[in-house]
Each structure stands twice: as structure tokens, then as C-alpha cells.
């Protein structure tokens, strides 16, 4: 069927070809219209020299001798004959063939047609896509020829779509062909396909209009699903960022009961550590740049963890059991840390680079997935499960839980509670530092970095249920996804406000969060 159609079109377009029997004459012509016709003709002629000539024309290297309209190509210092490729003997008195925008578009389309016959699959595919975009009727013969030869299923599909698009765009296509052209477009199912089908709204044929309408409806459904999935993906991505920011707090606040308002500053310290590590690597060993984030992770953990231990030893340990006082004192600490960083590094944003593996994106069943986001999600999960492991399965985790549940009893059993307190707080702070490494990739590294996360982090921990790590995970992902799903409807700011109001109301309903502990002790 397709082949029959192709034949038909070859016949139909034959007169057009006949008009420009010699495309070289057109290229050497005086007007832009002639040159444009020459370009199309050359492309359709299948001349093996066509590619070289069109490239030369695009670069302004195609020359014409006004006297006899002979064409030449300048190659470096030499000049060759355009028709034969042989070195030209007489190369005097030459003028470049000029191209305007119309001609340039024709060149693009023509080169696309030539690529349809390329031996490389990728080029053929790109050429088919180009035809789809340009919808140039002149490409039809080349397309049909290519389609007849094509073996690769993916490229075939692209060519079929391109052909359908051309047929629908070209005036005078018979109704039956228009009708047959709709399904391939519908199958393509993206925004471009939608545009083409929308264009059929004024089609004279009732049947074509109906088919187009059905196609549009089908594509809309598909796009809605893909769009929703894309938003869910963005939501998971945001959720993993929230998780990273909140997870350290889940320890200092959730497990130890300390309201650490300087938590955001631990994240900031982690980000600045990443900056310093990268600067050092750039200066000393540029080859290691790809590893800079991996190197930054332990450094950030140590820096933030150490600062955390210092805060615990000098401030917080005097305030256990007085959460509101820890809130005020650590807020003071956060101001000092912010100002210290501002004094050292200046108030402006610092540039933290992204290693190669963090950049770029790929397409996953219509979803656009950036590598950076993907790695951050993976990283957040790794940190989460690592922390869960430390708290549940190690001796240190056991001691931490013992101290937080019954300090006196733990002390009586020989656990050095001050030591455990300091290390637990250091662990929570260190994890915030690690979060800073990841956040340095997606946020501005400035002294105010931490402030942007502190309120969100607290809400995540409270929403999830204080003292419950799984609750923190669920809360972070839920809030992230809901936020991103709401954004297309109400905008980013209103979505955020709505979420804050939701959490405020939620806490009224379940003051202890999603996964609250029950029992007589917690009800007092």
C-alpha cells in the first residue's frame, strides 16, 4: 500500500522535476527563487555530488562564473569544478552564489533529504525528524524512496510519521491519504503531533476532521498521563531534597528532642565544604574533578559533624529537657554561623561545579529525567537507609536509643551518656552536612542556604511523626509529590502556602504526626 502510494507520488511529482531538468542551471541562476529551485532539484536528483555542493552553498563557498554559468567549489586554497569534483584549470572571475533565508531553509531541507539516504541509522532518523518538522513537500520523493529501503523499525516509524505530516501539510492530498495519515501522527502522541492534528480542524472532509478530533483526544489523554508522571517524578525529586534536609533533623529533633535551629546552617557548611574541596581540586589536581563530590561527602560529614559536637558540648548539653530553650540558643548559633561564613566567603553565591555524571538528561518513556536529580534521589535513599542501619543495627545506635529512652537507666548500665549525646548530635549534624553536598548541586551556595530549608525540615519531621525515621521518609516524599502535583494548577507559591496550611491543620488533627507512638507514656 505504502509502496503503491509512493509510486503514485513519484508520478505526481514527476512534472515538477522535469521543470528543473538541470538543477545546476538553477543554482547558477540570477534570482533567489531560481537558486532555491536548484537546491530542491539537486536534492531530489540523487546526484552523488549534491551533498558537497549544498554544504558549499551553505558556507558561501559555491562560486559561479557569470560568463558561462559554470559552478565551482572553493576547497581551502584550491577551486574544484562543482559537477565533477575535478580541480578547475581556469578559476578566474568567480562570484559566490548568494543565499537568503529562503534559500538557507531550502538548503536545510535538501540536506535533510540527502541524509535520508545516509548509511548511518542516526542520521537517517535525524533527517526523518527534520522532515517531520519542516513538512516540506519537496522531500516526499526522497522520503518515499528512503522508506522503501528502510530496514530499521524505529527509523521506519519516524519516516512514516514524517511522511504523514508532509501529506497532511501539503495542499491537494486526496482525502483517503489524509485519513490514512492521521493514525501515524496520533501514534506519535507528542505536542507536535497535537499541533498537526489541530491544524486539521478546518479540513474540508468530515471524516478527516472526526479522525483528527479522536486523535487529539487520545493524545491529550496520553500527554496528561505523561505530564502527571513527570510531575510525580519532579515531586519525588523534591521529596528527596526535603528528605536529605530533614533527615539529620529527624535525629537531633526526633530522637534527641533538641530543637536545632542551626540545622540549616549545618547543611550550608556542607555546601561550603564542597565548594572548598572543589577549589582545592581545581588548583592542585584537576584530573580528580569528577570525584570531587565523592571526596566532599566525608569532608562535609566531618566538618558539620565536628561543629555539631562543639555545639552540643558548649551549648545544648546544658539545656536537655528544655526544648524551647534549645530552640533559642541554637537560633543564636545559626546567626553566628551565618555571619561567620558571610565574613569569610562574602555574601554572594559561590560557584560549585557539577561533575560530568551529574549533568545531562535522558528520555524515559516520554519522561525527561535529568541525571543530577536522579543521583540526588539515589543519594537520599542511600543516606536514609544507611542511617536506619546505623540506628537499628549497630552498637552505637543501640546506645543512642537507650540514652534517649531512659537516660538514667542507660547511665546506670555503664553507657557514657555525655559521649553518646555528643556523637548522636554530631551524627545528625554530619548528615545535614552530607545533605549540603547534594544541595550544592541544585541550590545557590550562599550564607542563607540553610534558612531556606529549616522550616520545611521541621514540618517534614513533625508531619511524619517525631522520632520515626520511616515517617520522615513518607512525609518528605508525600509533601514533595503533592507540592509538585499542585503546582501546575495554582502556581509554585500558592502550592507551597497550601501545603503549609495543610500541615498546620493536619497537626491539629494528629498532633503527633502521621506515625505517632501510642501508649500511656506519650499521652501524659
Amino acid at each position: 500500500m505504502t509502496r503503491l502510494l509512493a509510486l503514485l507520488f513519484l508520478l505526481l511529482s514527476a512534472p515538477a522535476l522535469a521543470q528543473n531538468a538541470d538543477p545546476y542551471a538553477g543554482l547558477a541562476g540570477d534570482g533567489y527563487a531560481e537558486i532555491e529551485a536548484g537546491v530542491s532539484g539537486l536534492a531530489a536528483s540523487g546526484d552523488p555530488r549534491a551533498g558537497a555542493i549544498l554544504a558549499a552553498l551553505a558556507d558561501g563557498r559555491l562560486l559561479v562564473r557569470p560568463a558561462d554559468k559554470a559552478l565551482f567549489i572553493r576547497q581551502g586554497g584550491a577551486v574544484v569544478d562543482a559537477r565533477t569534483g575535478a580541480a578547475a584549470a581556469d578559476a578566474a572571475d568567480l562570484k559566490p552564489v548568494k543565499a537568503n533565508n529562503r534559500v538557507r531553509r531550502a538548503i536545510e531541507a535538501a540536506r535533510g533529504q540527502l541524509d535520508l539516504a545516509s548509511p548511518e541509522t542516526g542520521r537517517r532518523r535525524a533527517a526523518a525528524d527534520a522532515v517531520f518538522k519542516a513538512r516540506d513537500a519537496a522531500a516526499l520523493p526522497a522520503l518515499d524512496a528512503a522508506l522503501a529501503r528502510e530496514k530499521d523499525a524505529g527509523v521506519r516509524q519516524a519516516m512514516t510519521e514524517a511522511r504523514a505530516a508532509v501529506l497532511l501539510a501539503r495542499p491537494g492530498t486526496p482525502e483517503v491519504d489524509r485519513l490514512n495519515a492521521v493514525p501515524p501522527i496520533q501514534a506519535r502522541g507528542d505536542g507536535d503531533a497535537m499541533g498537526i492534528l489541530r491544524g486539521l480542524g478546518s479540513d474540508p472532509s468530515e471524516a478527516v476532521r472526526a479522525a483528527a478530533a479522536r486523535g487529539i483526544a487520545a493524545i491529550e489523554t496520553r500527554l496528561a498521563i505523561v505530564g502527571a508522571l513527570q510531575n510525580v517524578w519532579y515531586g519525588v525529586s523534591l521529596g528527596s531534597v526535603l528528605l536529605l534536609a530533614a533527615i539529620g533533623l529527624a535525629i537531633t529533633f526526633g530522637v534527641m528532642g533538641v530543637i536545632n535551629m542551626a540545622h540549616g546552617e549545618m547543611v550550608m557548611l556542607g555546601a561550603y565544604t564542597t565548594y572548598l574541596v572543589q577549589e582545592l581540586i581545581r588548583a592542585k589536581m584537576p584530573g580528580l574533578f569528577g570525584w570531587s563530590l565523592a571526596i566532599s561527602i566525608p569532608c562535609a560529614f566531618l566538618v558539620a559533624g565536628l561543629v555539631g559536637v562543639l555545639i552540643e558540648r558548649f551549648v545544648i548539653r546544658f539545656l536537655y529537657g528544655r526544648p524551647l530553650e534549645t530552640l533559642l540558643a541554637t537560633f543564636g548559633v545559626s546567626l553566628v554561623l551565618q555571619q561567620a561564613v558571610r565574613s569569610l566567603f562574602g555574601p554572594t553565591n559561590r560557584e560549585v561545579g557539577a561533575p560530568a555524571f551529574m549533568s545531562g538528561a535522558f528520555d524515559f518513556y516520554g519522561l525527561s529525567v535529568t541525571w543530577g536529580r536522579l543521583w540526588i534521589i539515589v543519594f537520599a535513599m542511600a543516606v536514609f537507609f544507611g542511617l536506619l542501619f546505623v540506628l537499628r543495627k549497630t552498637a552505637f545506635g543501640l546506645k543512642t536509643r537507650a540514652v534517649t529512652q531512659n537516660r538514667r537507666m542507660a547511665a546506670a548500665m555503664g553507657i557514657r551518656t555525655p559521649y553518646v549525646d555528643a556523637l548522636t548530635f554530631g551524627l545528625g549534624s554530619g548528615i545535614a552536612g552530607i545533605a549540603g553536598v547534594a544541595l550544592s548541586q541544585i541550590d545557590n551556595v550562599s550564607p542563607n542556604l540553610g534558612q531556606g530549608y529549616i522550616i520545611d525540615s521541621f514540618l517534614v519531621v513533625v508531619f511524619g511523626g517525631v522520632g520515626n525515621l520511616w515517617g520522615t521518609l513518607v512525609a518528605a516524599l508525600t509533601l514533595g509529590v503533592v507540592n509538585k502535583l499542585a503546582e501546575p494548577y495554582v502556581g509554585a507559591v500558592l502550592a507551597k502556602i497550601g501545603l503549609l496550611v495543610f500541615i498546620i491543620l493536619f497537626i491539629q488533627k494528629r498532633p503527633r504526626g502521621l506515625f505517632a507512638l501510642k501508649g500511656r507514656a506519650v499521652e501524659s
Binding site: V255, G321, L324, V336, A340, Q451, F458, L459, I503
Partner: protein, 384 residues
């Protein structure tokens, strides 16, 4: 003897006398003493002192709920800003056709944003009495609804602090939006006059300074009246042992909601007096950091003393003025250190410590207990 304590105790008399003297001395030094004299007080300082007094009123309102009721509100700046916006809306309407675009009804920013007519919530703000009512009602209503919901659900301590913070944060984001019809990012500014007085004039500056002083005195007396009555005793009882008051048949949520609402209205008045003196109100006033800063004023002065809260607000803000002028970088270090030092070494604040030294245990017993007044989270939220 009636169970009610004296409305004004010795430290109250000292406070009111000092405030009165200040409110007489500042106008005299500004208006009567000639400008060349070394004793003359420049008008910009009058506005600055007026700002301190507005902050002091905010601090008193915060102390009413924190010191006597154990509610550490990290969102009091929201009530302050809402009162300020109510006043700002009146001041915007007073500009009339004198704006840059000369629109007799719409403020400049609305003309700029292509508003065709005044949004409904701007109606009535051309009347001072209406605006003054809104200064009380808007913060009061918000506090009533928010407090009623939270206290009925027994949200206390840290959880309450966190959601009050979320409240002011949400309001900040909302007010930053241009669609809110309240000036967005830039807020409300370029005020011309209030009740017919030019807000730039010397007489107005002195007048509003005195008005702020009177409002502070009234706010103090209202807070004092509440706290010395049986109501205040129940409030303190709720602070120290909330569940016990329930078993006595009290409903702590009623008591807390009333205190929270009155306090929010007081904060709203403070904001309304603040705005004409600084000449602008913008969403930055909702920033959570501002509310926390107000908490430290109360902590420095001594919570549960009212007088201390006012004193703390003036002292810390005076220090801020001096330090940011002399060493801008040092201010945040100083403020941060203040938070740490006060919580660690001066838990009762300046006035609280003085009361303890001079008045002995009996007087100090009325103050918030030194160990946490908040529920012990370490006991409650344990385990994983």
C-alpha cells in the same frame, strides 16, 4: 483581703514613671529646646524611639502568652505585620490623587499592575475608624481561629512553636504575591498623611511617639490586669500543669485562646503604630526571623515580668542601632551570642534576676519556673 494582687506593683510603678518621663522629655527636648542647643533631640531620633516603644508593646504582648501561658509563639511578627498592613492600607488610601499616577482611588502599585478597581478588602480603609478596628480585628480573628484550633487539639510546646512559625512563613509567601493586592514585594509605602497630619512633619512624629508610649502603658495595664486576676492565676496554672487544670474542670483551651487573641490584638496595635513611624510595611515583616528576634527581647528582659519584656525590647534594639551603625558585621555575631548567653546564663532575664535578688523567693516563685515550662519532649517523643 481579695485574692487579686495589686494591679500595679513597685516595678510597675517604676516602669510607668519612667515611661511617662520619657514621653514628656522627648517632646520637650524636640519641640521646646531650640535646634542649636546641645540638648535638642533631632526628629529622626524621636521616630527611632517611637519605633522602640512599638517593639516594646510587641514584646509585652509576646510575654503575655509566653511568660504567663507557656505559649512560645514564633509567629507574633505576623500579628504585628497584619496590624501594620491594616494601618498601611489606611495610609495608602489617604494618599488620594497625590500618587505618581494621580489616580484618586487606586494606589500607585495597583495602577502599575493594571487593576481596574479597588479589591473588595480595601473597602472602608479610607475611614480611620474602620482601619483602627481592623488593626484589632484582623490579628485578633486570626489568632482566635488559629489558637482555638491548636489549643483544642492540645498542640503544645515545640509543636505549637513550629506551626506558629509555619503560619508566619505562609503569610510571608502570600504577601509577597502581587495577586494579593497588597503591594507584593514592595509592600505599602510613600505615605502622605494620617488624620490630616503629614507623616513627615515634626509635630506628627512627636504625636505618634507619645501615642505609642500611651499604647504601651495601656497594653501593660491590660496585660497586668489579666495576669493578676484569678484568670491570670489559672493561666499560670495552665502553664505549669496544664492537665491538672483539666481535672479541676477548667478548659485550658479557652484560657489560652483568650490570652492569645488579646496578645495578637496588642501586637497588631504595635504594628499599626510602627508603620507610620518607619514609613513602610512590606512582607519582610512576616519573616520568621523577626518573630524569633522578638522572643529574645522578652528573654533578655525576663519573661513573665511584662516590664522586663518592654525593657528588653528597648535595650536590644538600642544595641542593634548602635552596633549596626558602628560595625555592621558584628551585629549578627552579637545577637547570636545574646541568644546563647541569655538562655544559658540568664534564664530569668534582667528583670527576673533583679526581682529574684531583691524580692526573694516568694516574688520569684511567680516567674516561670527555671526548668522547662514546655512538655518534656525527651520523654514524649522518644524511640524510633
Amino acid at each position: 483581703m481579695s485574692p487579686r494582687s495589686r494591679l500595679i506593683d513597685p516595678k510597675g510603678w517604676i516602669f510607668l514613671a519612667a515611661l511617662g518621663a520619657f514621653c514628656v522629655a522627648v517632646p520637650v527636648l524636640n519641640l521646646v529646646v531650640p535646634e542649636g542647643s546641645g540638648l535638642h533631640l533631632p526628629t529622626y531620633l524621636v521616630a527611632l524611639f517611637g519605633k522602640y516603644l512599638a517593639y516594646a508593646l510587641l514584646a509585652v504582648s509576646l510575654d503575655l502568652v509566653w511568660g504567663y501561658c507557656g505559649i512560645l509563639s514564633l509567629g507574633h511578627g505576623a500579628f504585628f505585620a497584619l496590624g501594620g498592613y491594616a494601618m498601611g492600607m489606611y495610609l495608602m488610601r489617604q494618599i488620594g490623587p497625590r500618587g505618581v499616577y494621580g489616580n484618586p482611588v487606586l494606589p500607585d502599585f495597583m495602577v502599575f499592575l493594571n487593576y481596574k478597581e479597588l479589591p473588595w478588602y480595601w473597602y472602608g480603609f479610607d475611614h480611620f475608624a474602620f482601619a483602627a478596628l481592623m488593626v484589632l480585628l484582623v490579628p485578633g480573628l486570626l489568632a482566635f481561629v488559629f489558637g482555638w484550633l491548636a489549643f483544642r487539639s492540645r498542640v503544645t510546646g515545640v509543636y505549637l512553636s513550629i506551626i506558629t512559625q509555619a503560619l508566619t512563613y505562609a503569610l510571608m509567601l502570600a504577601f509577597f504575591r502581587n495577586d494579593m493586592g497588597l503591594g507584593g514585594n514592595n509592600g505599602l509605602t510613600d505615605f502622605k498623611d494620617l488624620l490630616g497630619f503629614s507623616v513627615q512633619s515634626q509635630n506628627f512624629r512627636v504625636g505618634i511617639f507619645v501615642a505609642t508610649g500611651v499604647a504601651l502603658a495601656l497594653g501593660y495595664l491590660i496585660a497586668r490586669f489579666m495576669t493578676v486576676s484569678a484568670y491570670g492565676k489559672i493561666l499560670i496554672a495552665v502553664r505549669d500543669a496544664e492537665s491538672r487544670t483539666r481535672f479541676l474542670g477548667y478548659r485550658p483551651e479557652h484560657y489560652k485562646t483568650l490570652a492569645f487573641t488579646v496578645s495578637a490584638m496588642m501586637a497588631g496595635v504595635a504594628g499599626a503604630l510602627y508603620v507610620p513611624q518607619v514609613g513602610i510595611i512590606n512582607p519582610g515583616e512576616f519573616a520568621p526571623g523577626n518573630s524569633i528576634e522578638a522572643v529574645i527581647w522578652v528573654a533578655v528582659g525576663g519573661r513573665g515580668t511584662l516590664v522586663g519584656a518592654a525593657l528588653g525590647a528597648v535595650l536590644v534594639n538600642y544595641a542593634k542601632t548602635v552596633l549596626t551603625g558602628a560595625m555592621p558585621d558584628a551585629w549578627l555575631f552579637a545577637l547570636g551570642a545574646l541568644f546563647v548567653v541569655v538562655t544559658l546564663f540568664l534564664p530569668r532575664g534582667l528583670v527576673g534576676t533583679a526581682v529574684e535578688r531583691l524580692g526573694g523567693r516568694r516574688a520569684a516563685a511567680k516567674l516561670p519556673p527555671e526548668p522547662a515550662i514546655a512538655p518534656k519532649l525527651a520523654e514524649e517523643g522518644q524511640g524510633s
